[in-house]
């Protein structure tokens, strides 16, 4: 187990350098620079422009800028936003809970519905229900997330008026941040209406963000269940005279969950990518929207380090999933 953990940590080093190199070069390939964007449409006085670039250290050759950046990173300095002058780490930690709340809601929806749909499809294999569920899953998986979000807003928010169009909470409410999770912070206010308002805001973006992971989890659960249902030990469970529910949920599902868990872990990456689009569509004040804004402002340090932080997170989550995998599967646990 220890060598496994060390190997995993060793893999982080090249991943980190890869991410830094990619973000550093990609953001600089986009035409325009931070100073130009800040000055807006007006013609920039070349002298002022040069001065500003020099002040930001952007007049240096690229390789030097990169090494300075790496040097900063190695000292644990994530830099400051060129626009707000706030430290990147502070901005990230202030906005991250919003994204985390959205992602947790999404992964809960996706896991719960995905597992149910997958199990039902497997049990009713070959039926219309199975084909229906798998067809929906394929549609969900292939759906462009920004389009899907807009359609849902149009239907549920604009036509039916059931949910708000955007944001995390109604502007009338002032919720002091305690944990950063709106559903928890609103509980401190002791006002049911505020909590419900937060829930209303959360529901649509969470559904949009959950769509692709839900489809993947449903398909994976179905195939994993089908495989396990054919196993000898499921036959043994039936031969014991156990109820069909016990056979399916206690004997089959437990074993079928093992590969599904891995897939759920891998979805965290998809979730982060999805969060960028979802947060932009719903004006959700999380790191996805923060990054999009930073890209359009050419806020180099925010883009570089924000993405680096997200990459770290995805890697860590996958690491945790590997450990969970061992808990679900005694054969791995004992090998360690």
């Amino acid at each position: 187990m220890l060598s496994f953990i060390l190997k995993r940590l060793g893999l982080l080093v090249p991943t980190f350098f890869g991410v830094t190199l990619l973000t550093f070069s990609l953001i600089r390939m986009i035409p325009g620079d931070p100073v130009e964007v800040m000055m807006g449409e007006r013609k920039v006085d070349p002298e002022l422009h040069a001065q500003a670039m020099q002040r930001l250290g952007l007049d240096q050759p690229l390789y030097k800028q990169y090494f300075d950046y790496i040097g900063q990173l190695l000292q644990g300095d994530l830099g400051q936003s060129l626009v707000s002058r706030e430290s990147v780490w502070h901005e990230f930690t202030a906005l991250f809970p919003a994204t985390l709340e959205l992602s947790i809601a999404a992964i809960l929806i996706a896991s719960l519905l995905g597992l149910i749909a997958g199990v039902v499809a497997a049990l009713k294999r070959g039926s219309m229900l199975d084909h229906g569920i798998m067809g929906l899953a394929l549609t969900g998986y292939s759906m462009p997330i920004f389009w899907w979000g807009l359609i849902l807003i149009m239907f549920f928010s604009v036509q039916l008026g059931w949910t708000p169009v955007s944001g995390r909470i109604d502007l009338f409410f002032d919720v002091p941040p305690v944990t950063g999770f709106m559903l928890i912070d609103t509980l401190y206010l002791d006002d049911e209406g505020v909590w419900l308002d937060a829930l209303h805001h959360l529901i649509l973006p969470a559904v949009v963000l959950a769509t692709i992971p839900l489809a993947v989890i449903a398909r994976m659960t179905r195939s994993s269940m089908l495989e396990v249902l054919g196993e000898d030990y499921v036959r043994t469970a039936r031969a014991k005279g156990l109820s069909p529910a016990r056979v399916v949920f206690v004997h089959a599902l437990r074993n079928a969950l093992i590969p599904v868990l891995t897939v759920i872990g891998l979805q965290v990456g998809t979730l982060m990518a999805g969060a960028v689009l979802t947060e932009t569509i719903f004006s959700w004040p999380g790191i996805g929207k923060w990054l999009i804004d930073a890209i359009s402002r050419r806020d180099y340090p925010v883009v570089q380090n924000g993405i680096l932080l997200i990459a770290t997170l995805v890697i860590l989550v996958n690491f945790v999933v590997d450990v969970l995998y061992g808990i679900a599967n005694p054969r791995i646990r004992h090998a360690g």
Binding site: E231, D232, Y233, R235, T236, A237, R238, A239, K240, G241, L242, S243, R246, H251, R254, N255, A328, N329, P330, R331, H334
Partner: protein, 322 residues
């Protein structure tokens, strides 16, 4: 009254008109009797027993004129009522012990499940009974084994656990589906001895599915020979082996290597078992039978009483011809 009576059992997959995997199977078993079912792979031995246990899942279709166990008509029982018999009064152990136990649960959990389901035992009472059962199947250090996972057990130990699970409720009938095929030869003998001892002590009826004629000769009182989904011969043990009435039984016996000592070649039956799509119109053995006649190729024989047993042949062998 017989403990188990199966009359005209057929199992098909797909539709009611599909070629049967088991066709017109008849079987009677008295309480405490040991029956061996022999036949090559795919002859329908396991499928027959799975059908009895209600383990044939869709798209499998089971039909029978009678399927009676201890006076109860299994065909008429609801699924729920049947589950109170399965695993309690009729239980089964399977071929590969390493895959028959659930890898995610401890031995104690899987044993306890049966005790809770059928006997309502829970907690320390269930644990106590589980330990007794493991001791009954001669597992050393039974208490410690309760918390072991199947992957921590050897094949022989796993099969003992499976047997413990099967006899947990003192069944009237135990079906052993090639219980030793996946085990080492030395372990095979131990498991067979264990099964025989348990059968004697609990006066269980035992159905032993096997490829191994020697096992049947040694253990069983009666034997049923299956070929291509049909019972072709039923008989008492020494008699059937001494004077087989069906050409297939005779061929099986001749193919035992010990019977060919001194001969240049092992005797074999030419040809292969008919498949799903090339079943002969007449006797299923006709294309391979050394004694076949015109009539055999046109008309399907029925299982008819013969000597002390029954045989499915138009021209059963007599002592003179065999």
């Amino acid at each position: 009254m017989a403990l188990l009576e199966i009359r005209n059992l057929s199992v098909r997959f797909g539709s009611k008109t599909a070629t049967p995997v088991v066709e017109g199977m008849d079987l009677r078993l008295e309480a405490g009797e040991i029956l061996g079912i022999v036949g090559e792979s795919g002859s329908g031995k396991s499928v027959t027993m799975m059908a009895l246990m209600g383990l044939i899942a869709a798209p499998g279709i089971v039909t029978a004129d009678a399927l009676t166990f201890a006076g109860q008509d299994l065909l008429q029982l609801s699924a729920r009522a049947k589950r109170q018999i399965i695993g309690k009064d009729i239980s089964m152990i399977f071929q590969d012990p390493m895959t028959s136990l659930n890898p995610s649960y401890t031995v104690g959990y899987q044993l306890g499940e049966v005790l809770k389901q059928h006997l309502g035992l829970k907690g320390s009472a269930a644990r106590q009974r589980a330990i007794e059962l493991l001791e009954l199947v001669e597992i050393p250090g039974a208490t410690a084994r309760l918390d072991a996972y199947p992957h921590q057990l050897s094949g022989g130990m796993s099969q003992r656990v499976a047997i413990a699970m099967a006899i947990a409720c003192q069944p009237k009938l135990l079906i052993a589906d090639e219980p030793t095929t996946a085990l080492d030869v030395t372990i095979q003998a131990q498991i067979m001895e264990l099964l025989l001892r348990l059968q004697r002590e609990h006066n269980m009826a035992l159905i032993m599915i096997t490829h191994d004629l020697a096992v049947v000769a040694e253990m069983a009182q009666r034997v049923c020979v299956m070929y291509a989904g049909q019972a072709v011969e039923l008989g008492r043990v020494p008699a059937l082996f001494q004077h087989p009435a069906h050409p297939y039984t005779e061929a099986l016996l001749k193919a035992i290597p010990e019977h060919s000592v001194g001969a240049a070649r092992l005797s074999t039956l030419p040809g292969i078992v008919p498949g799903r799509y090339d079943r002969p119109r007449g006797c299923l053995l006709a294309p391979r039978c050394p004694y076949r006649q015109e009539h055999c190729q046109d008309s399907r024989p029925h299982l008819e009483p013969h000597g002390g047993g029954a045989v499915r042949c138009h021209f059963p062998l007599t002592e003179a011809t065999a």
